[in-house]
Amino acid sequence: MESSDEEDVVKYRVHLRPITLRNAAPATLHFLPCEIPVNRPAPVERFFTPAIRQGPRGLEVSFRGRSLRGEEVEVPPSLVGYVMRMEEKGEVSGKQDFPEGSEDEEEQELLEPPEALERDFDRFMGASASFSRFTVWGLETIPGPDAKVRAALTWPSLAAAIHAPVQED
């Protein structure tokens, strides 16, 4: 696999291009109950999407001859889902980093020492898509409220409480 990505944060700072967070187009995501050991284009729209049926107890589809049951899960409030990609090293160009026609204020900022932009040292990531819900599929059974991935989505609200500043005496 792409072990280089994993080393990136140790060796480099990985910058997330903020503008991509605002411009990311909505994406359709399916969370599957099986391991498919590759990262590559796949004809989801031709094979998978048209086979989805709304059954009496949620969504139904089959994949590789196995029956899946699914349901849509919302991204928790005040969060947004993003699909991010690491840019290839050569992909970085000066122009691309900044929105076109940036305001004067921003130009000013650029004149300051580019501390965060040590090119050899840094890598860049951008959001390629955004989402506000995704479909969780279970093998033969609806994932339901007990699905671990659903439970994991409750973390941000608890984290907010843990990490909120304490009340002063």
Partner: protein
């Protein structure tokens, strides 16, 4: 598979699925004051962990990743292996500062913060020094001195007493959130199919405080966690390590309504049973039953059931002897499934 890997497939770039706070979308319009992933210390383990840092306004986010075997993503017209889901949530930076303050305290003297927060392994820790309201934060965990003759610089020294007070507040606010979020904090649930319906109501104050202490302990070194436990007067932890969670644990954060109230005969006994970390023979048998058969009833499509055999159902009466005293009977109906081994049929 043979003869075709994903290596060399130019389009096979990894995609990372993230949930980020919505406000980040607007917060950072400029590149320089942008967002970056940095490696900083995990204050609990002393190892490295990934964080997200917002430069303007300065803010620290921790990143948890949902990681379970046998998952993948379809993302638009592509497949992404691994099925990881990253969640970035704001983190109190004081947990990280505390890690360095405690470490520096071994020298026993007041020091300026820039001499405390230094790390050869994670040099990006200096980002923490730029955080707003740093002085106000540090008051919770340090004694401070100012030397007016030389400079106006502040010097800090770790204060265990103040820290424990601060952590106690953290535990309290966590406890409150556990309650409002209906988190099941009771002793480990063995099998959701049998023990879930009364779980929520039976959680006690002590369970909440232990649970909250455990969560906070994930952000502080072990020694401090032990001190905090003493400070909170928590009962000594039992000798046995908590077991890894059973495969299926009731996780709903909503109170669960029992579908059929077959627990009312044995609620009392099950409560005491929970305390016992060892499974009785009967529980083992039931756990086995649950794993091998309970799910199967719902696997068939309804259409199939139209013509399927009249349901073959096993009614299992667990022998009284194998259950804790006074538990009454367990009924377990397994649809269209073979009789499980190891279960005694009366």
């Amino acid at each position: 598979m043979a003869g075709r890997g994903d290596c060399g497939d130019g389009a096979g770039a990894r995609q990372h699925v993230f949930l980020l706070p919505e406000y980040l979308k607007d917060a950072s319009k400029k590149m320089k004051s942008g967002l970056m992933f940095v490696k900083l210390v995990n204050p609990c383990l002393g190892e490295g962990a990934l964080y997200l840092f917002n430069m303007c306004p300065q803010q620290l986010f921790e990143i948890k990743v949902f990681k379970e075997k046998h998952h993948s993503w379809f993302i638009n017209q592509s497949v992404q292996s691994g099925g990881l889901l990253h969640l970035a949530t704001p983190m109190d930076p004081l947990f990280l500062l505390l890690y360095y303050l405690q470490k520096a305290d071994k020298e026993g003297k007041f020091q300026p913060l820039d001499q405390v927060v230094v790390d050869d392994v994670f040099p990006d820790c200096i980002l923490l020094l730029k955080l707003p309201e740093l002085e106000k934060l540090l008051q919770h965990v340090t004694e401070e001195k100012v030397n007016p003759e030389i400079d106006k610089k502040k010097y800090y020294k770790y204060s265990k007493e103040k820290t424990l007070k601060w952590l106690e507040k953290k535990v309290n606010q966590t406890m409150a959130a556990l309650k409002t979020n209906h988190i099941n904090v009771g002793a480990r649930v063995q099998s959701s199919a049998f023990f879930s319906s009364h779980q929520v109501s039976s959680d006690k104050e002590e369970d909440y405080i232990c649970y909250a202490h455990g969560l906070i302990s994930d952000y502080i070194p072990k020694e401090l966690s032990d001190d905090l436990a003493k400070h909170l007067k928590l009962p000594e932890p039992s000798a046995s390590m908590p077991n890894p969670p059973t495969k299926k644990v009731k996780l709903s954060d909503e109170p669960v309504e029992a579908k059929e109230d077959y627990t009312k005969f044995n609620t009392k006994d099950l409560k005491t049973e929970k305390k016992n970390s060892k499974m009785t023979a009967a529980q083992k048998a039931l756990a086995k039953v649950d794993k091998s058969g309970m799910k199967s009833g719902s696997t068939k499509t309804e259409k199939e059931q139209v013509t399927a055999d009249p349901h073959k159902a096993w009614l299992l009466l667990m022998s009284l002897k194998t259950l804790p005293e006074g538990s009454g009977f367990f009924f377990c109906v397994l649809e269209n499934h073979q009789m499980p081994k190891d279960v005694h049929i009366c």
